[in-house]
């Protein structure tokens, strides 16, 4: 046990490990908070679709050799998120089908572009990293860390300040509108924040695994807690804890960060599922 502790202590003497840990847990916290809204609004699939599109945007940015791909990926994903949430409300357009089309298309075109115009010698290595988040979080620069932290803190503060309105809109949008809440504006905020979270979370777990970070903590918390506040707090704590354990585990066992974090989330879900069955009979 003390061996394990000293291994962790040793790794934490490195700046990049500390950065990775800090950014990773913060990202997990925001994903878990907004995950509650997305799951309750039945928008879970949007996270998945957005991350695939973000992969396409990242490929375009890489091929164009943009100095910081975030400047391309973030706006593209945000615009798509707004369009998708709007389409989800309009029953005439088949939201899920159009999303499937866009997300798969973005994956394919992105991979094609990377192969036709390779930006490095190891295309498949790069792609694997982007999809499953192999190393990117360990190679973050100080500027990236600061940007991630600023965004993550903004998102968290936004959630806390808007908490009551978010609850009202998530539970009953029509009623919220009748009270004079500008639900359209809030939905746009939720869409943009979702895009920001997805793009940030891609650094941690890679684009294929992003929705796990968004969906798992909320679903686990819902097994056990029966109030909205309980679910929100539970999801936030659980998401952060799972990310922390996952990152530490990946360092100790030298396995990729993304799958490790998701695996911890799966275990937590099973645990909460059993606990929920035991307590809420």
């Amino acid at each position: 046990m003390s061996d394990l502790f000293s291994v962790i202590q040793y790794y934490f003497t490195f700046d990049f490990v500390r950065y990775a840990f800090l950014v990773g847990t913060l990202i997990a916290l925001c994903s878990a908070l907004f995950g509650v809204i997305l799951v309750l609004k039945r928008f879970s699939f949007i996270g998945d679709g957005l991350s695939h599109t973000a992969f396409g945007a990242l490929a375009v940015a890489t091929v164009l050799r943009v100095s910081n791909p975030l400047y391309v990926v973030l706006p593209v994903t945000a615009v798509l998120a707004v369009l998708l949430l709007k389409a989800g409300q309009n029953r005439k357009i088949k939201g899920d089908a159009s999303l499937a089309m866009v997300s798969v298309g973005a994956l394919a075109v992105g991979y094609l572009l990377l192969n036709i115009l390779p930006a490095s010698t190891n295309v498949s290595g790069d792609v694997c990293g982007t999809l499953f988040g192999a190393t990117s979080i360990l190679t973050l620069s100080k500027a990236d860390v600061l940007l991630c932290m600023a965004l993550a803190l903004t998102v968290t503060v936004l959630f806390v300040v808007l908490y009551n309105r978010i609850f009202s809109i998530t539970f009953d949008e029509n009623f919220a509108r009748s009270m004079g809440i500008h639900t359209g504006a809030y939905n746009t905020i939720v869409a943009i924040v979702t895009a920001v979270i997805i793009v940030l979370a891609m650094n941690l777990v890679g684009s294929l695994l992003v929705s796990a970070l968004v969906v798992f903590p909320a679903l686990s918390a819902m097994r056990l807690f029966r109030s909205f506040r309980g679910v929100t707090l539970g999801s936030a704590v659980l998401g952060t804890l799972c990310a922390a354990i996952g990152i530490l585990g990946s360092i100790i066992l030298s396995v990729p960060v993304g799958p490790a974090v998701v695996a911890v989330n799966i275990i937590a879900f099973l645990l909460f599922f059993v606990l929920g069955k035991a307590f809420n009979r």
């Binding site: 908490y163 009551n164 309105r165 539970f171 009623f175 009748s178 009270m179 004079g180 109030s227 506040r229």
Partner: protein
């Protein structure tokens, strides 16, 4: 001056008209039931009164005394609400948002208001229960308590008895009637149940193809369209 007055309004979506030339007024203390077949535009009319939708033609005049913040709206329940993880208290309290300005959190005044309305509707003992574990009738009481937090003058209820069993339905109608008579709250209710509507309400607005009717409940039961709908459960072929 009436609380709400509609002058020759037409309703519809995307250029398609679903109801035309609707004129009526809601006075203080009134109990108006809006009846008619499915798709006649009842829910759309309620949304129009709230200002959530615009009429295609005509105008809706809402008394400035009533304004947006003193109207309480009870929308139809959506499927996903039925298993929403929230306590009764959280849901009732969310109706108080209309009563706070820019501050982000609820204060003592809002909490007391929520408490008071839970007491009024007899759901105080359920306040820490999870919404999804309640019966349909209890859920509807919770939503009504939330609506009462939003407004004291005027309630717009969209099928409050939808999906309830006969006992809970009756219970709901009496609750609304008590609010109207004892608390002096003006009620506008969309209903499928024409018989109950005639029994409980003061005025009836009937929407439908070329059979618009607006008048007192008594006049409605004597009118041509009223008698036809009131007797619609009597099947001509089964009678001896």
């Amino acid at each position: 001056m009436p609380y709400i007055e509609c002058r020759d309004i037409s309703l519809g979506y995307g250029g398609k008209v679903i109801a035309e030339d609707i004129s009526f007024a809601v006075e203080e203390g009134d109990y108006l039931c809006i009846v008619g077949e499915n798709g006649a535009g009842k829910s759309t009319l309620v949304k129009t009164l709230l200002g959530l939708e615009n009429p295609i033609k005509g105008e809706v005049v809402v008394d400035s005394y009533i304004s947006k913040n003193s109207i309480g709206y009870l929308p139809q329940q959506t499927d996903f609400q039925r298993d929403f993880p929230a306590t009764v208290r959280e849901i009732v309290l969310s109706g108080c948002i209309a009563r706070y300005g820019k501050q982000p959190f609820f204060g003592k005044r809002q909490r007391n208001l929520a408490e008071e309305n839970m007491k009024k509707l007899g759901i105080e003992n359920l306040k820490n229960k999870c919404y999804r574990e309640l019966s349909g009738g209890q859920q509807q009481r919770v939503l009504l308590a939330r609506t009462l937090c939003a407004a004291k003058k005027l309630l717009l209820l969209d099928e409050p008895a939808a999906g309830l069993d006969p006992v809970a339905t009756n219970d709901m109608y009496h609750l609304v009637m008590d609010l109207n008579r004892q608390e002096d709250i003006t009620v506008v209710m969309v209903s499928h149940d024409i018989k109950a509507a005639v029994r409980h309400s003061k005025h009836i607005l009937h929407l439908g193809d070329g059979e618009m009717f607006f008048g007192t409940a008594e006049e409605y039961s004597k009118s041509k369209v009223g008698t036809r709908f009131l007797n619609s459960d009597k099947c001509g072929r089964c009678e001896e």
